[in-house]
Homo-oligomer: 412 residues x 3
């Protein structure tokens, strides 16, 4: 198997180079110059999101003791490929469907934001995919997510910034469906363990994500960016507090668990993303943050014990309860808030509610189905799945000098 | 004791949840919607300060080898609680005293800036407090600091942005007074030691703080933000240079000491905070930076040998010489600069000088007295002080798998 | 030798203090107040560049297992000294040559950007210079680089922002010339090895640099900042992809090498810096990014095997292929793009081309000659070169407690 993989490995770079060449040629045909039309996105907004995705998620996922090179490195690789792919999809839509062309900064920012889906999915199969599988997954997911957004926009009239916020839901369920096709690691294996140092690296990424999440939720907001920022901040604050609280309640001897803090502190930001612009009072955002944190920690408790073993899903970094469940909660909350707010005003309320529910059900269904198919494709002989014994190992992909490895990896 | 603490631990989450519920209810009554009035604070300014407090201070305090989880984690916890508390205080002031309501971004930014006091105080008792004690300290300190600022503003007519800059002084002396009520760790204990890796984490936080300090000093500036930025940058630059110089002079065999660089490189920013807006020439800021660094390193030399043992204070992360003394120097420097500048112009100079001196004396006195009382409260049986033998131990609060702990903590 | 060094060390701080005092006095005479003239540089732009230089480069260079204190610490020291020196040079030019005075933010930003040259040069001699040598090198390099820019501007009429982008070329070749005067470390020595943890720290710095590079290339741009941002982003994206690809192709058994990713992912940003403002199509930037990555990885392959041993140069952190060769490619690319674009328009094309080629040839020549001379000066008995056996050792300069050192440095 390993020699198979090695011979296969020789074809890896040519595949990536081929893909990159195709991208450059498509850019040549699709982008006939820059379009500096004014948008309400500033370079600083873009930079915050870029920072989150490259730096924040790179280190957020670096919690496996032997997989930190791959976590941060492959994260960079799939994002830069995915962003190009996403921009090209946008260009194709403009060309084929004669949609209005947006400003360049909006296109790039949208591409970077939509990469969150890919990063979340890659978290679900963290340590189990080789780079080629990751790249194939990235390209497929970017295309499907763009298509799903386009359907949302065209047929369900969902506004652009709301359809974009399905990114967490899509990423989580696509990733889960993909991961269902990968075998579980041996339960006695300690390779996918974490050390205090790797948790600390992950904390570094988490704090980065936490600080920049208000930018993420407001970057594509149309009307009221500042409201989106405040609501996100309050939701994040309360969910961080709740994360600590519930962690003590759910662990054996009343200690804090680092993974709880990592995932639940961010849950508020995920939940509030749909309604961030429309919530008028901080206390609503705060309650959403509290519920988000609650659902995340209860989810981590229940899913890991009941659902995942039953469905034979191994969710390597807990994306289901970190992004999936809070996203679901947020989508439901948005509908509830809409109903409460417009109870008397809107005669066609039922229709609007159906549209919103339809939008996120559609997104999840598309994610699950295409994710499952992608999982099947990734396990084709051609893409040479790596043996389970080589899961979660940096040195299978990276040059790590053996002497160092022994001392370093064993003792830390 | 340990079993006591465990039974106590079960009540911890309910206390936090209760507090959070009270906060949400108060938010419901006090904030009837967002107030998007224009202020001269941009989201980027807020983001810089937020980044400093959450990320910068979190890692700045992560220099203890076995306490990095708690340093970064509890830092997040107390800040998110404190920010909510501080915003509520502001709302109460508006409600009860009919003060003018400020823009939301200004309120949140002010809350985040004032959390620096709590973070500095938590540095003074780093490793010696349990989460409940930290939370009680946070709530008390936020309330007292707001009250002290309000007195400054109302009775001494100190401008808002100057009274805010007392945050370093208040934090340091409050923390010192609190820490005087905690027993010292055994001098032979090596638990509160640092390793090169933990110093490096702390360096990461320090560099973050260093880079964003000009934002901190200028964020609440009224008139001349750019001048505040330049002066802070120059003061920081010179104090970084001086930190290296004096470190060589004060250590045994002429080597650099990492803690000197950490604290003295930031001293310039602390010192110049009062006068940042009013200094007209870079060389004045530079001299202040030099003096700040000097006072920090001499302070670290003298305090640790003479004053602290005499007063039986164990200042766990040296907040006295990192924030206290440079803050004092800055307050004095502001007065001196004012006297020089307005020597001929102002007839009532003496009165103004008295006001400024009164303001920081009052701040320090309030900090010392309330800090001392808080220290007493924190040592009530109810708040169950942890045994000295468990100081500086992450695994007392966090799930750290024992096997990993043994290899990890022992060898690093 | 060691005792020699120790006695010498006692004079170190006085030298730095003397330098700092001279700086403050010069600031007193040269800067008679702040000049808040409007420029197209915002504080956020400056902050991004400041962050890159202090934080990004500090950790980018922290890849040696025993030299991370010095990498991050001395980086801060030389930058703060160099920035002051660079600002003073600007002030002297205004005073002596009656040049127009620029806005303060422009002056400080220019100073921080030009420090990149010094940081790159310090990378070439990383681990081999003592602090005094570094400071002397910094002061000399800042003065020579400013002079070289002034010649470019005055006699070759090169625009300010283009002459500034010679910073990579200048830094790399100056550093290489300096490093040619330092003896090579023993090839069997393992002191200049890296560990996975130190590579990860370096990855942290690299990702920071990668994210903020578009700010770096656009900060001094005159006309079209956004175009500079897009082109840099696309070039960086493609060079990151290519870095992974070529790394697999050039290593023995088809694995990724971390150093390849570190240097080649940034190469696109270096290459595109000259033409960032004038490239009209993303695909051109992308091709430049691809070529930059190619030249970096091939360069790292060829230089380390052929050229460096032949010339007896030990390029400690590969600045030749990380910054030198991509910079060269960028300078050539700029000329080629100019020729293609203005083929028919400009009658005096030949003259313009000669000017551009002249500018970068002059820069490289000045860098090589002055670097060589600086290397000679640094090896004077007076500046007491450290013994080769003490290269790459933090504990030669920093207090690292021996007990910790043994366990820490040996096992990690």
């Amino acid at each position: 198997m390993s020699s198979n993989y090695r011979s296969f490995r020789k074809s890896v770079p040519w595949l990536i180079l081929f893909l990159e060449t195709v991208f450059i040629i498509l850019f040549y045909f699709l982008f006939s110059g820059y379009n500096a039309s004014i948008s309400n996105i500033s370079y600083t907004d873009f930079q915050d999101v870029n920072n989150m995705v490259i730096f924040g998620f790179g280190f957020f996922l670096a919690f496996l003791k032997r997989y930190s090179f791959s976590s941060t490195g492959f994260n960079l690789l799939i994002i830069v490929l995915g962003v190009q792919c996403s921009i090209l999809m946008e260009g194709l839509l403009v060309l084929l469907l004669r949609e209005a062309k947006e400003g360049d900064l909006k296109i790039i920012t949208t591409a970077v934001v939509s990469m969150t889906a890919v990063v979340i999915s890659s978290g679900a199969v963290l340590g189990k995919t080789n780079p080629i599988q990751l790249i194939v997954m990235t390209v497929v997911e970017v295309i499907v997510f763009q298509a799903s957004r386009w359907i949302n926009k065209r047929f369900l009239q969902v506004p652009d910034n709301i359809s974009m916020m399905h990114v967490h839901l899509f990423g989580a369920y696509f990733g889960l469906a993909v991961s269902s096709r990968f075998s579980e690691p041996s339960p006695r294996s300690e390779k996918n363990a974490s050390t205090p140092k790797s948790y600390l690296l992950s904390m570094l990424g988490t704090l980065f994500l936490w600080v920049f999440w208000p930018s993420f939720n407001s970057v594509l907001a149309d009307a009221d960016k500042t409201k989106a920022i405040y609501n996100t901040y309050f939701a994040l604050a309360v969910s961080a507090v709740t994360a600590f609280t519930l962690s003590v309640l759910t662990t054996m001897d009343g200690k804090f668990r680092m993974t709880h803090v990592h995932s639940a502190a961010l849950a508020g930001g995920v939940t509030v993303c749909y309604a961030a612009e429309s919530i008028d009072y901080p206390w609503i955002a705060m309650i959403l943050g509290l519920l988000a944190s609650l659902i995340t920690i209860l989810g981590s408790f229940c899913l890991q014990r009941c659902l995942n073993p039953a469905l034979k899903i191994h969710d390597a970094s807990g994306v289901h309860f970190t992004f999936g469940l809070p996203g679901l909660l947020g989508a439901v909350a948005q509908v509830v808030l809409l109903v409460i707010k417009k109870w008397t005003v809107l005669p066609s309320l039922g229709y609007v509610v159906m549209i919103y529910i339809g939008a996120f059900c559609l997104t999840i269904s598309v994610a699950l189905i295409t994710g499952f198919i992608t999982g099947l494709i990734l396990n084709f002989k051609l893409l040479k799945i790596i043996p389970v014994s080589k899961y979660f190992e940096d040195h299978f992909y990276w040059e790590v000098s053996f002497r160092v490895k022994l001392t370093m990896w064993e003792y830390i």
